[in-house]
């Protein structure tokens, strides 16, 4: 009867040995391969470091102008461009310039990495149901697993700092771009594809001239979500020693420094809004441009 009331669990000692075995294996792996894996990420690391130093070494008026120009190029809206410049001026005035530059460097590089890896994965997924079946649960894991569960092994392997931070951000922020690229490509009207085929389009033409442009709204929604989720990870990344706006937030949470926390939190929000509006406007503009082309 006790079989039904008490779950037939693995014995306490066996379970402990099982857990210890896994930990031991991981430590062996880390000793054996840690330096090699670290070296593998070195180019990315040097790029990230270089980019951060560049942002910090550039005189602030130039950065502000670049921010305004990028916002204008993306959105073609003076309001947004001026708004972005004013927020950066405010951030600088409130003494958060250096941390903001570190965060901008990390977010830009990690978003770029997510897009460069995520869009091809999404395309691959859209082409094959079997690939989709394999990748979807992996994306589910990436989005729901408690962050420190994979951060601790990453820290043991790569130490603290920018690269583990980048990995943490990308694990969390990459799924939306993969999912929405896949979804967008799959939602393209079958009749349109048939028409493309009947005109004798080859695979590449069909993908890049027909499917991809039609999937653009979804893909841009994915890019946008990826940026937002990357920014949401700033505080978590600072828990493994990434410099930036997350550090003061962490400090203020533990010490009840309300103003410090609010200021740095709002700076993260300002970055998010600027990135969000500019990328959304850019996506919309691409769409409008194409629609106009059809009408003409």
């Amino acid at each position: 009867m006790s079989f039904f009331t008490k779950f037939p669990a693995m014995g306490r000692t066996d379970l402990r040995d099982f857990k210890k075995g896994i930990d031991g294996k991981f430590k062996e792996f880390s000793r054996e391969w840690g330096e090699g894996i670290e070296a593998f990420f070195d180019p990315l690391y040097y790029f990230l470091n270089w980019f951060e130093k560049l942002l910090n070494a550039t005189p602030w008026p130039i950065i502000i102008l670049i921010v305004g120009a990028l916002a204008y190029l993306g959105s073609r809206s003076w309001k947004l461009s001026v708004g972005a410049m004013v927020s950066f001026l405010l951030i600088g005035y409130l003494g958060m310039w250096k941390n903001t530059m570190s965060t901008v460097a990390l977010i830009s590089v990690s978003t770029l990495l997510c897009i460069v890896l995520g869009i091809p994965l999404g395309i691959w997924m859209s082409r094959s149901d079997r690939v989709q079946k394999i990748i979807t649960p992996i994306l589910d894991i990436m989005q729901t697993i408690p962050i420190f569960v994979y951060l601790l092994p990453v820290v043991m392997l790569l130490g603290i700092g920018k690269i583990p931070g980048l990995i943490a951000v990308c694990v969390y922020a990459m799924p939306p771009i993969i999912r929405l690229t896949n979804l967008g490509l799959r939602l393209v009207n079958k009749d349109v594809l048939e028409a493309a085929d009947s005109f004798g389009a080859n695979y590449r033409q069909r993908l890049f001239s027909v499917q991809f442009p039609l999937a653009l709204p979804n893909i841009f929604a994915g890019v946008n979500q990826t940026i937002m989720m990357a920014l949401a990870m700033v505080v978590i990344a600072s828990m493994i020693g990434v410099k930036g706006l997350g550090m003061p937030v962490l400090q203020s949470i533990q010490n009840q420094y309300l103003a410090l926390g609010l200021m740095n939190g709002l700076a993260i929000v300002a970055l998010a809004i600027i990135f969000d509006r500019v990328s959304q406007q850019y996506g919309k503009r691409l769409q409008r441009h194409r629609e106009g082309g059809h009408d003409a």
Binding site: R16, K27, L151, V155, L157, L158, M247, Q254, Q256
Partner: protein
């Protein structure tokens, strides 16, 4: 004579009854389950003994030094902090104790503990010339910072911890910036431990802040380095170093302040759970027992309640001394 013995017996009986009544009235107590192993172990052992021996109903509340203290100071919750390192909260704590809102139920509940700057044993063996912190500070080249290899990396205390401010102040006091050091903020305990584990697995040099009693210290046999300067007085430490570089700009070099740990309780606890105050007064963990328990927790991957159960079993001779015989019997029966 006969009469006085009788009255003594009555008084003793009344006392026993009243303490029995108190025990059942102990009621609901909230206890801080601090987020480091020795504190969670102590809190869980306290929970077992207070529940089984004194009839309290204990609710565990997660916490960390400054947050738990702030909550106790402002809201009177949780009622008990078993292992409160008071260096970070000394002034508000003493103010609250003077006003009678908080009480120290036991000073020094663990022996042989402390904070400081540590080196791994192989670094000490390879560089016998590094006798004090002052010697180490001349050699930033031995501890290169990955992000800036021309400078040395000193691993400080995670952002937001009380020790972060003291480390920042000492970094300034010892002129470490000019000597070629960077102060690295590991961001969290996982980050700090990760740097030690990684350095030890690879045999890399490591120089940073840590504290004992911890399983990290026991496991990797880290060596606490003497600072090479005397303790420059409580005024310098409490009034300047502990307040951090924003509040005080000219800290003087000093060795780390001797650590003071207290078991702190609220006034409410003292009133409703009176007899349990006597338990806290006797409850002292020898550093060796604590160290062994921490290595046990680490190697067996035991959490607080598991480790507390193991402790009650393995160190009966120790906890039996903390409580009166009849309570010890009650606790033993409940195990």
């Amino acid at each position: 004579m006969q009469k006085s013995i009788l009255s003594a017996a009555i008084v003793a009986g009344a006392l026993a009854m009243s303490s029995g009544a108190n025990a059942s009235e102990c009621g609901e107590i909230s206890m801080a389950d601090m987020n480091w192993p020795s504190a969670t172990l102590m809190a869980n052992v306290d929970k077992i003994i207070l529940e089984a021996g004194y009839g309290c109903e204990i609710e565990m509340v997660g916490g960390a030094t400054t947050t738990t203290f702030a909550s106790m100071d402002n809201k009177g919750e949780p009622d008990v902090a078993a292992e409160l390192w008071i260096n970070a909260v000394r002034e508000p704590l003493f103010a609250a104790m003077d006003e009678g809102r908080l009480h120290s139920a036991r000073s020094g509940p663990i022996t042989d503990l402390g904070e400081g700057w540590w080196l791994p044993p192989y670094t000490v063996a390879a560089h016998p010339e590094l006798k004090t912190v002052l010697d180490i500070l001349e050699r930033p080249d031995l501890f290169p910072d990955k992000e800036d290899p021309s400078r040395g990396a000193f691993i400080g205390c995670p952002a937001g911890w009380g020790c972060q401010l003291s480390n920042q102040s000492l970094f300034i006091a010892f002129g470490m910036e000019a000597k070629g050091w960077n102060l690295i903020d590991p961001g969290s305990q996982a980050g700090l431990d990760g740097t030690i584990i990684k350095a030890n697995e690879r045999g890399e040099n490591w120089f940073g802040y840590y504290w004992a009693p911890t399983s990290m210290i026991g496991k990797y046999n880290l060596q606490m380095m003497p600072f090479g300067v005397p303790f420059a007085g409580a005024e310098n430490w409490d009034g300047c170093v502990a307040k951090g570089p924003e509040a005080c700009t000219d800290p003087k070099p000093s060795s780390w302040t001797p650590s003071e740990v207290h078991t702190v309780v609220t006034d409410r606890f003292k009133n409703v759970a009176g007899p349990a105050m006597g338990y806290f007064d006797k409850r002292i963990w020898p550093g060796g027992v604590m160290g062994a328990m921490l290595v046990y927790m680490d190697s067996e991957q035991a959490d607080g309640p598991d480790a507390a159960a193991h402790f009650m079993e393995a160190h009966e001779d120790l906890w039996m001394q903390w409580v009166p015989a009849e309570i010890a019997a009650k606790v033993k029966a409940a195990l």
